[in-house]
């Protein structure tokens, strides 16, 4: 078969696809088996809806939503807490000035989330240690130590512990490669930088929220949940 290629691209547009490594999952998977949206996918969604509904009805029958006395600007409860999903931030407010904990940190988090898909390094998802291993180890090691000193200077022990754990795991993963015998080691070695940062964020978020919710009492002092 002979395909004639004309020089006039306006009349005969040609489509050229550049498929770069790991950039276009769609191209790779488009020939998978397919099922009808109606009724297959729709009924799956309805099952999800029903599961959520049954569970929530059950919880609502067992536990009552809190209702305290009427709002009274003259009586500040101690501690006055934000809703649970903001308690991570409120915990940070305990260490840093409001400008940092209340404005800078959430602003940076939202900004960072938005730009994730626009950085090539996140798209290619290459292993952190694939290139320049020595140099990267140096930079990341130094950055980690500086960050830990910073947290220590502000006494933020709750944020320091997860940083050391995840940072330690990240540096440890540099010892392995895709040839390591253990599956877990190969898995660690394959992870890109974005994986480490996001996992650090996930763990910080969880720990700060749990501490703010359960371990903080009057004057934002440390309490144990089972003692109060």
């Amino acid at each position: 078969m002979q395909a004639e290629v004309q020089s006039d691209v306006r009349k005969n547009p040609r489509r050229i696809a550049f498929i770069l490594r790991r950039t276009s999952p769609y191209v790779k998977t488009q020939d998978d088996g397919r099922v009808m949206t109606y009724p297959t996918a729709l009924s799956r969604f309805i099952i999800a809806l029903e599961v959520a509904f049954v569970l929530l009805v059950w919880i609502s029958l067992l536990a009552n939503a809190p209702l305290e006395g009427m709002a009274d600007p003259m009586h500040t409860p101690n501690p006055a807490k934000a809703p649970w999903y903001f308690l991570g931030l409120q915990e940070l407010l305990h260490y840093f000035p409001p400008m940092v904990a209340g404005v800078l940190v959430p602003g940076l988090v939202v900004g960072a989330l938005i730009v994730i898909p626009y950085f090539n390094i996140n798209i290619e998802g290459e292993s952190l240690w694939a290139k320049d291993r020595k140099r990267r180890l140096m930079i990341i090691g130094v950055a980690l130590v500086l960050f830990c000193i910073f947290l220590l200077a502000f006494d933020v022990i709750v944020a320091l512990v997860p940083t050391i754990l995840i940072g330690g795991l990240m540096l440890w993963s540099a010892r392995f490669s895709s040839e390591s015998p253990r599956l877990f080691h190969r898995w660690l070695a394959s992870k890109p930088l974005s994986f480490w940062i996001m996992s650090w964020f996930l763990i910080e978020l969880t720990i700060l929220t749990v501490v703010g919710t359960f371990f903080r009492g009057p004057g934002w002092s440390w309490v144990l949940p089972w003692q109060s």
Binding site: T23, S24, P25, Y26, K28, T29, D32, R34, V35, M36, T37, Y38, T40, A41, A48, L49, V51, A52, F53, L56, V57, I59, S60, L61, N64, A65, P66, L67, E68, G69, M70, A71, D72, A80, K81, A82, P83, W84, Y85, F86, L89, Q90, L93, P98, M99, G102, V103, V110, L113, I114, I116, P117, Y118, I123, G125, R186, W187, F195, M198, L205
Partner: protein
């Protein structure tokens, strides 16, 4: 028994009235099933066929679908709650007491709305992390991820504005703590807080503003964005299912 129900249902689907409502009419060929999606204003956001692997549990854990489910429950219970609620001081608090002691199943209604709200906040975070770890933000899905981030913010704002409405101590002080943070914004912190609360402290004006945001503006924005979110899933080639990797 099952066949009787089935043929009865078929008969209903063949009536003229049914056919005027659902333009696709009866029949279970793939053509009819495609039309059931294409010719329905709500379903036509979705593609007619989906990859069967995308319906498995492991890629999504159904977290997006569960988030949407809680959102539906919240709309239904929220509308019912609006029938019993006045956004004024001190009537708002009295309405809470009425829900507790006077309205039939009022406590249950409030519970369901409250716990579903907590569940939605949790699920939306979980969905985000699941999408991230699956790498589903990569091209061509970048912008759907960005829409997602805005959905996360809207969800948090919905929950936060709703938190004030019972007008009890918990509500009042939680919102006071939150709005004090707004003051820390450089240069115009005070102004932002004033705009948010309609005054210099949490008072009746703030309650009214939060009510309008909670019951009208934010739900509308959320519904709009969810619509775009789903439409983008189809335009971006359906859900991303990673290739089966051999590590």
């Amino acid at each position: 028994m099952a066949t009787t129900i089935k043929s009865g249902f078929e008969r209903i689907r063949n009536t003229e009235v049914w056919r005027t409502i659902f333009r696709s009419g009866s029949g279970s060929s793939n053509l009819h099933r495609s039309q059931a999606v294409q010719q329905n204003i709500f379903l036509h956001l979705f593609s007619v066929k989906v990859r069967s692997r995308a319906l498995e549990f492991s890629p999504t854990w159904y977290l997006g679908a569960l988030t949407l489910s809680t959102f539906f429950i919240l709309i239904a219970t929220g509308i019912l709650l609006m029938f019993y609620y006045h956004p004024s001081v001190p009537q708002a608090y009295a309405d809470m007491k009425d829900l507790q002691f006077v309205v039939a199943s009022g406590v249950f209604l409030r519970n369901l709305h409250r716990w579903s709200a907590h569940a939605m906040v949790f699920l939306v975070f979980a969905h985000m992390f699941k999408v991230f770890y699956r790498g589903a933000y990569r091209p061509p899905r970048q912008f759907n991820w960005v829409i997602g981030v805005f959905l996360l913010l809207i969800t948090l704002l919905l929950s936060y504005t709703g938190y004030l409405l019972p007008w009890d101590q918990l509500a009042f002080w939680a919102v006071t703590v939150g709005s004090n943070i707004a003051k820390a914004v450089p240069l115009m912190g005070k102004q932002i807080r004033f705009l948010m609360l309609g005054g210099n402290e949490v008072n009746a004006n703030a309650l009214l503003r939060f009510y309008v945001l909670h019951c009208v503006i934010l739900p509308l924005v959320a519904i709009l964005l969810v619509g775009v979110h789903f439409w983008r899933i189809r335009k971006d080639g359906g859900l991303y299912v990673p290739e089966k990797k051999n590590l």
